[in-house]
């Protein structure tokens, strides 16, 4: 798979882009969906990322892989769209984070996500979810996350800790239900 996606010395071509869309867009979309929890925003984030990557393909370094480069841009686009759609979404970092799982719109979206794991992620607060996804699924450094969402490293670590704690409790609950 990797050999197909790796790009030579010239900037990636239109065909290269089409190929990675076919092969890897489900990964980009999933990452964006986990961040935004909104299928429309996730789709828009991927499209924005593709168009941005296309415009800046001359800057693409051939030591990287095109799909991972677009993946990173898509995650950033998802964060931007989340911030635009919910201004102040990350402000709760400086205070106690309330679990907002009972908001009706979230309940509806949880249902639409149709997966225990997605529902489990959705029960986290926005900040906890974004920090968990960026730290453990996207492998961002703590400093990168804190800079991205405008807080300090300690707050990010706390949010990740709370997220893992809640997800563990959720998983134990699911295991009990299954057994």
């Amino acid at each position: 798979m990797a050999a197909v996606i790796e790009i030579g010395s010239s900037p990636p071509s239109q065909a290269d882009f089409h190929r990675v869309i076919t092969q890897r867009s489900d990964r980009w979309y999933s990452a964006c969906l986990k961040i935004t929890r909104n299928p429309d925003l996730a789709a828009d984030a991927v499209q924005d990322a593709l168009l941005n990557a296309w415009r800046k393909r001359g800057q693409f370094r051939n030591t990287a892989r095109l799909d991972t480069w677009i993946h990173r841009i898509a995650v950033n686009a998802a964060l931007n769209l989340l911030r635009k759609s919910r201004p102040g979404v990350f402000e709760a970092l400086d205070s106690d984070v309330e679990d907002d799982a009972d908001r009706p719109d979230q309940v509806l979206q949880d249902h639409e996500l149709e997966s225990d794991l997605a529902a489990s992620l959705a029960r986290l607060s926005e900040v906890e979810r974004v920090c968990f996804v960026l730290k453990h699924l996207e492998h961002w450094r703590t400093r990168e996350i804190s800079e991205e969402i405008g807080t300090n490293d300690g707050c990010v670590k706390q949010a990740v800790f709370r997220a893992v704690h809640k997800l563990r409790a959720d998983m134990q609950h699911l295991e009990r239900l299954e057994s």
Binding site: S25, D26, S30, R86
Partner: protein, 209 residues
């Protein structure tokens, strides 16, 4: 990190959601449109009259996506999903302030007039690219005015405008695109016009049929 946490992380990593096929097609189309527009800007080519059913197909797909987006925008909203994001907000979510609504009407009207009387090839490209720039400005304005659905509709115009910007577009394809865009703009103008009777109030474009 213990095994349990590792298991949780591994499970979430493996939890992949496939996008709908129409969405993937939209990404392919948007890429083609961007490439076509870029080729037009960078390397002016003589116009070639040729049947291009593939290109027309892409254009129609973009038009369809735009139509669906407008349909969502115009349709009645589920009240559950339309709760205001901020409880104290003085206006409902997706309401468009009067000033923005009036600016949009001018933008749509001008765009419609320009699109219906587009010059050929290179001049047309420059004109359409200017329309795209203005469209992006209004999209940003909609976003900062807490009207996300309107922002999405405006964003949905872009792929089809990019198709129209290509200078090797066959005349029949260009005509079809122009007609489709004019229709979509008429829908938006009708919508905005119907709700501008009271200019003192923000227009709740998302909650009216």
């Amino acid at each position: 990190m213990n095994d349990k946490t590792d298991d949780i992380i591994a499970a979430h990593r493996a939890d992949i959601h496939s996008p709908p096929p129409a969405t993937v097609q939209r990404w392919h189309d948007a890429l083609d449109a961007a490439a076509a527009a870029e080729a037009t800007r960078d390397v002016p080519r003589p116009r070639v009259l040729q049947p291009s059913s593939f290109f027309l197909g892409m254009a129609m797909a973009a038009a369809l996506a735009l139509g669906i987006a407008i349909g969502f925008f115009v349709a009645d909203e589920d009240p559950v999903t339309e709760l205001p994001l901020v409880a104290e907000s003085p206006r409902p979510a997706n309401a468009v302030p009067g000033a923005l609504s009036r600016g949009l009407q001018v933008h749509f009207r001008d765009s419609r007039a320009q699109i219906m009387s587009l010059p050929e090839a290179q001049d047309r490209t420059m004109l359409v690219l200017r329309i795209i720039e203005q469209n992006r400005m209004f999209e940003n304005a909609a976003t900062s005015n807490d009207a996300p659905k309107l922002a999405r509709v405006l964003r949905a115009f872009e792929p089809i405008l990019l198709q129209l910007a290509a200078d090797d577009l066959a005349p029949a394809d260009a005509e079809a695109l122009q007609a489709q865009l004019a229709f979509e703009l008429n829908v938006m103008l009708t919508k905005l016009g119907a709700e501008s009777s009271d200019d003192t109030q923000p227009h709740d474009l998302g909650n009216t049929t």
